[in-house]
Amino acid sequence: MIWNEARECMSREDMNHLQSARLRKIVDRVYHNVEPYRKKMQEAGLEPGDINGIEDLHKLPFTTKDDLRDNYPFGLFAAPQTDIVRIHASSGTTGKATVVGYTRKDIDVWRECVARCCTMAGLGRDDIIQVAYGYGLFTGGLGGHYGAEHLGATVVPMSTGNTKKLIDMMIDFKATGLMCTPSYLMHIAEVIEEMGVKDKIKLKATINGAEPWTENMRMQIEERLGIHAHDIYGLSEIMGPGVACDCIHHKGLHIFEDHFLPEIIDPKTLEPVAPGETGELVITTLTKEGIPLIRYRTKDLTSLSYEKCECGRTTARISRFKGRSDDMLIIRGVNVFPSQVEAALLTVDGITPNYQIVVDRVNYQDTLEILVEVEERFFSDEIKALEGLTKKIGHTIQQALGLSARIKLVEPKTIERSMGKAVRVIDKRKFDN
């Protein structure tokens, strides 16, 4: 099944034509409504009339997360506040969050895109879908919810936390669809096995995103639960989940090109890579009103394929993600920048201790450990005081990241140095396959 055949199966010529028309419109919109964009374009010697179609895209300047931070909170909005009906936010590189606003039409586009994803996963109006992403500022919960509702399915807003209740309801309601992060899905599978209720669940398909996972992990969970597991891609700056999703053939994620214009660039030279080559994904939002983004650098590394898929869709496909071109970590679906950890540690007593972030995946669940060197000023002859320090750091990190971390005190000078510089992040998870 295809939710919107007219858009998802367009000929390349028609798609390019549509994209060009929409690009002209969006460039015009930001130029006239968003001061920072106008300035950037003027600095590049550009006027909206210079952009005639997608062939001129490369002339436009890039947008980055820093632009969102510098114009915090609403500086990049292209619609008056009267027209903004929703705000979402995600982690910024420093203390300030990255804030995005949606107009009513943006919400409509978003739910349309998520409905397309659900359809790709074989779900429809006869299904009962549990949404087990966090509801709140994070785009996962509400994004999934609105999309599944738009699809016409029966939506159960579980949010995260009570896994047993989720499984009980999955059985009692005969739920057939589930949206959550891949690592939470793994955890759910484990609890289902522990409860010995695998033969009681009626789950058909899951839609999972917000954090990287491997093809192996996806196939393993499919086998374990006897379901189809789908990879959904999105980022709050662009929209949230639903920018792209993989169909039943699982040969890359179909990006909804009528709304999101993708490019792949070399993150060093910023030049386009050869077709099919891996590089950084850059997205231009073609229809967004609240906060349109022109050539937004996602920092996600991937490649694009324009071959027609066996499912009949002609939209470009993104290959499985190969990592990031910046230092952002995604831990249990939460974006974490090492700079945030550093800023949080600084508040503990005014001086940043030597620290190291260790991320691992144990039983398919992300673990976060922060090693802190016990310099003389932190040291005490009383265990009570040392435990107090651990607690205080743990609390500060929890506040800053919204994630619990295990704090481990280590001896001075034990954190690995590389060329005299402490190695700040060790990510033991393996995502490449």
Binding site: E376, D381, P412
Partner: protein, 145 residues
Amino acid sequence: MFIKQLSVFIENREGRLEKVLKTLKDNNINIISLSLADTSDYGVLRMITSNPEDGKKVLKDNGFSAMLTDVLAVKVEHKAGELQEVLDIICKAGINVEYMYALATKNDDATIVIKTSTAEEAALLLQKEGAEFLTSKEIEELKSV
């Protein structure tokens, strides 16, 4: 009244305690008494040593976090209930014992190293009740026995 206790932070993994002891040995620092408080990740080794200042310096030079703390070394007789009587005095004054451990001498009496929530107050109270303390000078002498 107070003596200097040398404390050092050690990770709870093989070889770390030995490294501390080796550092002290190489610098001819004698350990007279010690206690080790451990957690799953780390421990605090507390010691009464000869030349605690030197001890702290050599440990620091070898990359350890070390510190000196004032503690009381109270002499008690080798008799049932002696230690309880000492604690009774402290507890009645609402003072908490943070930690304590024994220090052996060649004499008939025993010595208890004790750190309390309020050091000064505990010391004065015990002194008033006639308690005797082991002094830094006596500790230096112990070394040469």
